[in-house]
């Protein structure tokens, strides 16, 4: 079918720009468009950095298919995110049509969140990320946090409290 598939969770900034084909240019532009979409709950944090982008396929006619993975299958933000991605990609020159699909596989995990996004979540939103079974550290003082409620303000977050400074910390988990 001539479709190309990429799996990238990081921007392509470091790639050589000499001799890139029109197809690669378009692919880069589409990737940047997807990366320009923020999570509706975390303005300024890209959905690409949160690990939601799984695949970009572009055929020779300029039809773009974006594959995203949801944090949780019942996340109410999915429709908003898909519409934002569709709008951003549609605006890229050379794109004829855009389709956005929520994939059922692979499953999203917190390991897909980039290092930069973790720093940003911690410093701007007081949100920690739970990796493995270790108690997440408090974004304010670094001490271990203690779970207060398994379920928090959204499905992907629980509520913890810092054992030292008593800050309330939302924790993203998978």
């Amino acid at each position: 079918m001539g479709a190309r598939r990429t799996r990238r969770t990081r921007p392509l900034a470091g790639e050589p720009d000499n001799g890139v084909s029109r197809h690669q240019e378009l692919e880069l532009a589409v990737h940047q468009a997807v990366a320009s979409v923020d999570d509706p709950e975390y303005p300024g944090v890209s959905i690409v950095d949160l690990g939601l982008l799984e695949a970009i396929e572009i055929d020779e006619s300029g039809a773009v298919a974006i594959g995203l993975v949801p944090t949780f299958s019942g996340c109410p933000a999915l429709a908003v995110i898909a519409a934002d991605v569709s709008q951003a990609v549609d605006a890229v020159e050379g794109v004829r049509t855009t389709s956005v699909t929520w994939l059922t596989s692979p499953a999203w995990t917190v390991e897909r969140i980039s290092h930069d996004a973790r720093q940003q979540l911690a410093s701007e939103f007081t949100v920690a990320v739970e990796i493995g079974r270790r108690a997440p550290s408090c974004p304010r003082c670094g001490a271990p946090t203690v779970e207060q409620s398994l379920f928090g303000p959204s499905r992907c977050r629980s509520v913890h409290r810092c054992s030292s400074c008593h800050e309330t910390v939302e924790v993203m988990r998978s």
């Binding site: 019942g74 059922t104 499905r155």
Partner: protein
């Protein structure tokens, strides 16, 4: 997906309807659950079940929102395949907590039946759903751990259990043509093949039950609707009945 056999469609529909109504029931506790953490928990757990239902409906009718709404909300009562446990409206928090535990401990086992499905989409969804179910069971267990050691609460929960078990056993009522779906590999065994493992979980959680004396309620299966079904369907269709193309 049009290449699904009628038997496969029945099995998927039965599970989808259970998930859909369980999710809707949970959402009715938002704002009136006894404390804030429960409000959040039931909102989240309900969201997961509705998400699972949407994915299962998508396997049946494809990803178009209007098609999913049509199958989720606009079938006649006799075309639903849900069991009475998820159709009945419970007004007591103890009953609700016990139902949540009974349903989720069975749901996890039922997803395992789909984990090796010959329908790849079902196998993928099962992996996701099973990992989400861990949170539901952890939530139910944590509350029951606390409440079953308090005399008054334990008494109420045990009474609720006695009331709900005959209806809960009807969760394992099979869909029409279930045996065909098993031989096609859509599901690895009938729903009833989970029943023994589930009963063991109930015994471990609430104390040994005299299962020989507890029969599944014959009116609580998948071919009849509970008296609470019709008013519930009206409630969950309220917005769509005003505007069929409404989105949020």
């Amino acid at each position: 997906m049009s290449d699904l056999s009628p038997a496969a469609r029945e099995v998927i529909l039965a599970f989808a309807d259970d998930e859909h109504l369980m999710g809707q029931q949970h959402t009715e506790w938002i704002g009136v659950a006894p404390f804030l953490e429960e409000d959040l928990a039931f909102a989240s757990i309900g969201q997961d079940e509705l998400g699972h239902a949407a994915l299962l409906f998508e396997v049946l009718v494809g990803g178009d929102d209007a098609a999913i709404d049509a199958i989720a909300f606009f079938r006649d009562a006799d075309e639903w395949r849900s069991c009475a446990l998820v159709e009945c409206t419970l007004e007591d928090w103890g009953d609700t907590l016990v139902r949540h535990w009974l349903y989720d401990s069975a749901e996890e086992l039922r997803w395992q039946l789909f984990a090796g499905s010959s329908v790849q989409a079902l196998a993928d969804i099962a992996v996701r759903a099973e990992s989400e179910e861990r949170f539901h069971r952890r939530h139910g267990d944590a509350l029951l751990d606390a409440l079953l050691t308090v005399d008054d609460a334990a008494g109420r929960l045990q009474t609720a259990l006695g009331r709900l078990l005959p209806m809960a056993l009807a969760m394992f009522d099979g869909a029409a043509g279930e045996a065909d779906a098993v031989s096609e590999g859509v599901i690895s065994g009938p729903f009833a093949s989970c029943a023994d493992a589930w009963k063991q979980r109930v015994d471990d959680r609430f104390g040994a039950q005299d299962w020989a004396s507890i029969d599944a309620d014959p009116s609580a299966g998948r071919t009849t609707r509970h008296a609470d079904f019709a008013p519930m369907l009206d409630r969950i269709r309220e917005v769509l009945d005003l505007d069929r193309s409404a989105v949020w």
